[in-house]
């Protein structure tokens, strides 16, 4: 993975010093909260319902074991012993004290981490496919591009005071695990034939996707941007947005609204015109030696030559049913023979989605050191990944995970839901999300039943801002406030992957007491309606909303 050099480290250190000064001025009362706000937001520090919240960037979701140990240490020392992994591959601490923020940032800087640009109206943490580099069928490792974009977007002088926040995601695989079509800019690395069996790599560019109160699927405005021109093309998009994006209304300020208002064709025309100016200057083409330097950090490790199948694994599966379930559900094929991609579910039955305590983080770091070449990934669905586990080590890994309640075999199943922090933490929320996720996972705790239901993505947001991605849930749940009471609205048929779709609202909302029953009715309807091999989403797409709605609102 990428390692800081002297330049990266120096900049992070300078930023910590700068922000420490600002915090000191705030504590002494020289800075008002109003004046401090834009400064703390540039450094990932929010003021939440009960306390400050610090959001730490995990660029493109890649962590070393050493970094994970540091995150555990921070949870233990400065917080209440846990952290929360988010849908944008970051980690949030919910209870830091303002006076200790500089210490936390210094500790993070020791392991090449920071909280820069994890909030504020700037380019946020760049996210990527969590299986980058280890999944079969990739054009290349998308983290090379993500790292270049990380550097380019860090302290960008022109784009740090945008109309609104700006999120970029990249994948290099036809299966979209990074929800790139729901980002301000989504990139897909693709190959283009240049004759004589040669090809060049470039990017398909999608613009103006997003969730929130007005969800949009991004529009593809370019089929191919050559690699050398990517930064120029990105600056063109950013400049069009910075000049024309609305600043008169906070809720209409994202680029998705601009694209919607002026239309896809006009957006494309404006970006191309800007691109022509910027590209002509030729100053944004990253030199090949720098591309190679960054690329080298993501070169494949020295894989061992292993047999495709492992007797040890097969034997363990045949004797340990729980382990067998976990392998069946949480393991994904690795592109290298004899290796496996391990998903660690952070959704134990009845747990808080995305939370991990310090002991769990330390255990994951130890497992990564011992069995996964020191590397861990964070997924946008709030789980973790060990990308380099040998098949014959899977049982050991499983046992170590199980000892920390980290071996829940539910990846992609109904209990693997995304939930925002909701009213338990968030100042914006209308309703609680976490307790609802917990109730749903308890209702469907029976594993055989979950397996029978199959892939079903439940996503829960506590308010219209949609941090829990409810628009792209196969079943989406949105908390709304009606005269001081929490209600939940259901939507069906959303998908955040390459078949991107936005869920349709079923009808009247349900009370907190009714909502889990309502979800169960939807599941029962699906089981009645499904044809062999169909997932919930497939059935929904075949039959539409009506049959589900009839069951959902039928009098008991």
């Amino acid at each position: 993975m990428y390692r800081y050099d002297e330049f990266d480290q120096q900049l992070v250190n300078e930023r910590v010093a700068q922000f420490s000064g600002q915090v000191a001025r705030r504590i002494k009362g020289e800075l008002s909260e109003d004046a401090f706000k834009p400064l703390r937001l540039m450094n990932g520090l929010y003021l939440q319902l009960h306390a400050y919240m610090l959001r730490v960037a995990i660029p493109y979701g890649t962590l070393s074991a050493r970094q994970m140990r540091k995150l555990a240490h921070i949870a233990r020392t400065y917080d209440k012993g846990y952290g929360h992994f988010t849908t944008r591959q970051n980690i949030q601490y919910n209870w830091p004290k303002l006076a200790e923020i500089p210490d936390i940032l210094n500790e993070l800087a020791e392991v090449e981490m920071h909280a820069i640009q994890t909030s504020g109206n700037c380019i946020r943490n760049i996210t990527a496919d969590q299986y980058a580099g280890v999944i079969e069928g990739e054009v290349e490792d998308p983290r090379i591009t993500a790292e270049i974009m990380r550097q380019w977007s860090s302290f960008h002088p022109e784009f740090s005071y945008l109309p609104r926040k700006f999120k970029i995601a990249v994948t290099a695989h036809k299966n979209d695990r990074a929800a790139i079509r729901f980002h301000d800019i989504g990139l897909v690395a693709v190959k283009r034939d240049i004759g004589e069996k040669n090809y060049e790599i470039g990017y398909e560019v999608h613009v103006g996707g997003g969730l929130g109160r007005t969800p949009f699927i991004a529009k593809k405005i370019r089929d191919f941007v050559p690699k050398a021109q990517l930064l120029a093309y990105l600056e063109a998009i950013m400049r069009v947005y910075n000049m024309l994006g609305r600043r008169d209304n906070l809720f209409k300020a994202r680029i998705k609204i601009l694209v919607h208002e002026i239309g896809e064709d006009e957006m494309r025309r404006l970006v191309e015109a800007e691109f022509a100016h910027i590209d002509a200057a030729k100053i944004l083409a990253v030199p090949k030696q720098e591309l190679d330097r960054i690329g080298a950090y993501f070169a494949p490790p020295n894989y061992e030559s292993l047999p495709a199948e492992s007797d040890i694994l097969d034997k363990a599966r045949s004797t340990d049913k729980a382990f067998d379930h976990w392998v069946q559900t949480n393991i994904v094929d690795h592109k290298i023979k004899g290796y496996a991609i391990v998903n660690i579910s952070l959704k134990p039955i009845g747990g808080v989605p995305g939370d991990a305590n310090a002991e769990q983080m330390d255990a994951i770091a130890d497992i990564a050191s011992q069995y996964s070449l020191d590397e861990i990934r964070v997924t946008h669905e709030q789980n973790l990944v060990l990308p380099y586990v040998k098949k014959h080590d899977l049982k050991n890994v499983y046992d170590m995970l199980a000892a920390q309640n980290l071996a829940t075999p539910n990846l992609g199943l109904i209990s693997d839901s995304i939930a925002c922090p909701g009213l338990d933490y968030c100042e914006l929320a209308n309703a609680r999300s976490i307790p609802l996720a917990q109730e749903i996972s308890q209702r469907f705790a029976d594993l055989d039943r979950q397996y029978d239901i199959g892939e079903l993505k439940v996503k829960i947001s506590g308010c219209i801002n949609a941090c829990g991605h409810h628009h792209v849930g196969h079943i989406g749940i949105l908390g709304v406030d009606k005269k001081g009471t929490e209600f939940y609205q259901l939507s069906l048929g959303g998908a955040g992957d390459e078949t991107a779709s936005i869920g349709q609202i079923t009808g009247p909302a349900f009370t907190g007491d009714e909502i889990v029953d309502a979800v169960e009715k939807l599941v029962t309807s699906y089981i009645d309606l499904r044809q062999p091999g169909e997932r919930f989403l497939d059935t929904y797409r075949r039959v539409g909303l009506t049959p589900f709605k009839e069951q959902l609102y039928a009098p008991d």
Binding site: D5, F7, D8, Q10, L11, E14, R15, A17, Q18, P38, L39, M42, N121, I148, Q151, W152, S154, F155, H156, P157, E158, F159, S160, Y161, L162, L231, R239, N242, M243, L244, G245, R246, R247, D248, H277, I278, A281, I283, L284, V286, P287, Q289, E290, R293
Partner: protein
């Protein structure tokens, strides 16, 4: 307001005048509208001329005035003042880069309005070389703000060699 230009406090020879006001025999800053309607008269004066570009939410698209509307007038302009109507409105950063990179304007680009300590360094990188500052601001503070980040990752309008290019 005190003015820092090219990292020094300087006296401001320019006066910003209303569209209806008579032109004094000294350097003036006029609105884009006045520049467009009175360009010939303004050019004929033997005095430096400046224009202010508004960035507040005006016009049909609420996107403020378009700096590219200056293209034909740049030869007669010594100064372009970019308005920053509030701290969070960063349109002027892009306007400055368009002036420098695309339109090759070499005169003074001045930031006016809500311009804060923490933005000076980025403004400088975008080609802004003059700043209206509050009465309390010292040159030491200004230098400190510019020096907080010693390096830059990406190219812009200044001579900082970007990290992405120099390793």
């Amino acid at each position: 307001m005190p003015l820092i230009k090219d990292k020094q406090f300087v006296d401001d020879p320019f006066t910003q005048i209303d569209d209806q006001a008579a032109l004094p025999d000294s350097p003036v800053i006029v609105s884009l509208a006045r520049l467009q309607t009175e360009a010939q008269t303004l050019a004929a004066r033997n005095q430096p001329l400046g224009v202010i570009i508004r960035a507040d939410n005006i016009g049909k698209t609420k996107a403020g005035e378009n700096v590219r509307d200056l293209t034909d007038y740049l030869p007669i302009l010594s100064l372009v003042a970019l308005e920053f109507p509030e701290f969070r409105n960063g349109r002027g950063f892009s306007a400055a880069r368009i002036l420098r990179d695309e339109l090759h304007f070499t005169g003074e680009i001045r930031a006016v309005g809500e311009v804060a300590f923490d933005q000076w360094a980025f403004m400088m990188r975008c080609g802004i070389n003059a700043f209206e500052v509050g009465a309390h601001v010292t040159l030491a503070q200004f230098s400190e703000a510019l020096g907080e980040l010693s390096k830059a990752y990406q190219p812009a309008c200044d001579d900082k060699k970007p990290i992405l290019w120099r390793r």
